[in-house]
Amino acid sequence: MKLLVVEDDATTGSYIARGLREEGHVVDLVTEGKGGLVAATSGGYDVIVLDRMLPEIDGLTVLKTLRGAGTLTPVLLLTALGDVEDRIEGLQAGADDYLAKPFAFGELSARVAALARRPQALEAETVLRAADLEMNLITRQVARGGVVIDLLPREFALLEHLLRRKGRVQTRTMLLENVWDIGFDPGTNVVETHVSRLRAKVDKPFSRELIETVRGAGYRIVA
């Protein structure tokens, strides 16, 4: 993928760029808003990582200008302010996702990947599949290799979320946001617990593991 990183802090910027390059992406790094805007409008990027606080033209203005000019490239906004109000302001300005500093690189990488392959519209699928696992969204029945698996509602929602994003890493915070609808981290191991319960039901009785832990990042269902 071709990515644009607009980040005024050289250290953070180069770390992000290096990390993303190591993952095989082509990364352009710009350190101020004006340059970022020029680069972003010249196009060709799959995802833009934009710092909210930039010298001269700040990130929000860059974002609004971009959206005003009709550029629809997904934008991940980075911010030093991490509260809900700030987040909503960013999303209203046209950001597709939002990440508060300090963040772990794994989190950034997972969110960038999620944005790049964002489903255009939620397909009207009625059955989600991964290998021999089947989830029927209408009967709300889950079966693997023909064996019916009983799931609690939250486990079902978690599995559905992972299945819909098959192959993509979902971080703890992404799962908290989407499966539990919680915009903050309560600092408990609720995600880990549910994933391990889900594994006990979906993976353990079978030979092949479908739910994979990605170290330092999160979980994904093997494509």
């Binding site: 030093a80 509260d83 809900v84 300090p102 963040f103 539990w180 309560p186 330092g216």
Partner: protein, 451 residues
């Protein structure tokens, strides 16, 4: 009903009513006085006529002449205006009427068989004349008519005045009510965090309201500037501190990747990462507390089901509680219990309360999250049967960064309950700490729904 009462209690209408009452009283008094004067002069002239009539009869030389005169005149007179009667010395009655008296007062009877009794009021004069008694009565019909004229004058002059004044007062009252409501609405917006709200006065507003509106706007501008300054400061600080924190986080991660499998180094980098997360946590808490206390996020309020928030948060902590040997139980109604609020902040509030209970009570402690309606008000409680907090410390623990001596050694930053307090305040809820005998019970009483 309430609207009518409001209009009734408004200043312009009350003034209008007062003025109308005063005006009505003055015109009534002056009309009454002129009526009395006119009536007196009318009666005076009737009496003068009666005296003159009598003088005419007196001029007759004898009783017989009087009788003839009375007969002659009464034939010509309209009995509705003039009644004459002469009781001659021999007892015979001449004229067109006779006066009799019973318990109901005086009555005039017709001597003419066609009319038994005269209607209307008369003024009469009775006098002895040549051994007989002469009675002359003149009708008061003109005076009675005068009363009607005055009543008409009263109705014609007073009624329209009253109606015009009253409807003018009503219109003014409604207009001023509308203006006051506009001021109120702007104030409501300002107090609920919309600092951009202004009182927009119009050209037809009364001067005093325009002045009050102007002052309110000045106040809002000043407050907005202060809030803006606060926001700038917090975001500057946030930026200045987060950037290095971000770098440290990335360095630590880098280091983690390099140390590989050496367990001691790995443990050290894990600790470093934990500290970075802790710092960022305190930082978030401080920033958020500042924002919530400033009251600005209220614009984001939506309908929130408290039952759902309780269930989600209980689920969040279920496993941590089991791991630390606590028993976390949930007691919420099955039906949704909705209020107007900020879901994320309410979740955080509950998260902080549960976290506090888990952190400051020993294993084996029972922690209960309960939600129910007490009257019209939703009440949320988090209670435990742990060691509790001494009563004299109850108010202090809600202060920012305050920590009990014995909790210095446990993790935490002393901001948890301050945020609880601030979020509760934002939602108009009242926080109380009570002795759960044993343990601590934190109660949040939300304002009555739609009250």
């Amino acid at each position: 009903m309430i609207r009518l009462r409001q209009i009734w209690r408004s200043m312009p209408l009350r003034l209008a009513i007062l003025l109308v009452a005063l005006f009505a009283m003055a015109s009534l008094l002056s009309l009454a006085a002129s009526y009395a004067v006119t009536q007196a002069s009318f009666e005076e002239s009737i009496r003068a006529d009666l005296q003159q009539d009598l003088a005419g009869f007196r001029a007759a030389p004898s009783a017989r002449a009087v009788a003839q005169l009375v007969e002659a005149e009464s034939r010509a007179a309209d009995p509705g205006r003039l009644i004459l009667s002469y009781i001659a010395p021999d007892g015979r009655i001449y004229g067109n009427g006779a006066i009799a008296q019973d318990e109901g007062g005086f009555h005039i009877f017709s001597l003419n068989p066609e009319r038994a009794e005269f209607e209307g009021e008369y003024l009469s004069l009775t006098n002895a004349l040549y051994g007989g008694v002469i009675t002359i009565a003149r009708s008061r019909a003109e005076i009675v008519a005068l009363r009607g004229v005055f009543v008409n004058i009263l109705l014609i002059s007073l009624l329209p005045t009253v109606l015009i004044a009253l409807s003018g007062g009503l219109i003014l009252a409604r207009r001023s009510k509308r203006h006051v409501e506009l001021v109120e609405r702007a104030l409501d917006k300002m107090t609920s965090g919309d600092l951009g709200a202004r009182v927009r006065t119009g050209p037809r507003w009364s001067d005093d309201l325009v002045r009050i509106g102007g002052k309110l706007n000045q106040m809002a501008v000043a407050q907005e500037a202060q809030m803006g300054a606060l926001r700038d400061v917090t975001s500057d600080i946030a930026h200045d501190l987060r950037t290095p924190l971000q770098r440290v986080a990335l360095y630590v991660q880098d280091l983690q990747d390099r140390v590989g499998d050496d367990p001691e180094s790995a443990a050290l980098t894990a600790k470093m990462q934990g500290e970075v997360e802790g710092m960022s946590h305190v930082f978030n808490a401080l920033l958020q507390l500042a924002r919530v206390e400033a009251g600005s996020p209220k614009a984001r309020f939506e309908t929130v089901d408290l039952c759902d928030v309780c269930r989600t948060l209980a689920e969040m902590f279920e496993d941590s509680a089991t791991t630390s040997g606590h028993v976390l139980s949930l007691d919420v109604p099955a039906a949704p219990l909705c209020l107007h609020g900020d879901r994320a902040l309410l979740g955080q509030l509950l998260s902080n309360l549960i976290e506090n209970a888990l952190r400051h009570t020993p294993a084996g402690t029972q922690i209960t999250v309960s939600l129910d309606m007490q009257g019209p008000a939703p009440v949320l409680q988090v209670s435990d049967n742990g060691p509790g907090i001494p009563a004299e410390e109850h108010s202090k623990v809600l202060q920012r960064l305050y920590r009990l001596d014995r909790s210095r050694q446990t993790p935490g930053h002393g901001l948890g309950l301050s945020l609880v307090q601030a979020v509760a305040g934002l939602h108009g809820a009242e926080v109380t700490l009570q002795d759960n005998a044993p343990g601590l019970r934190v109660t949040l009483r939300f304002p009555a729904a739609d009250g």
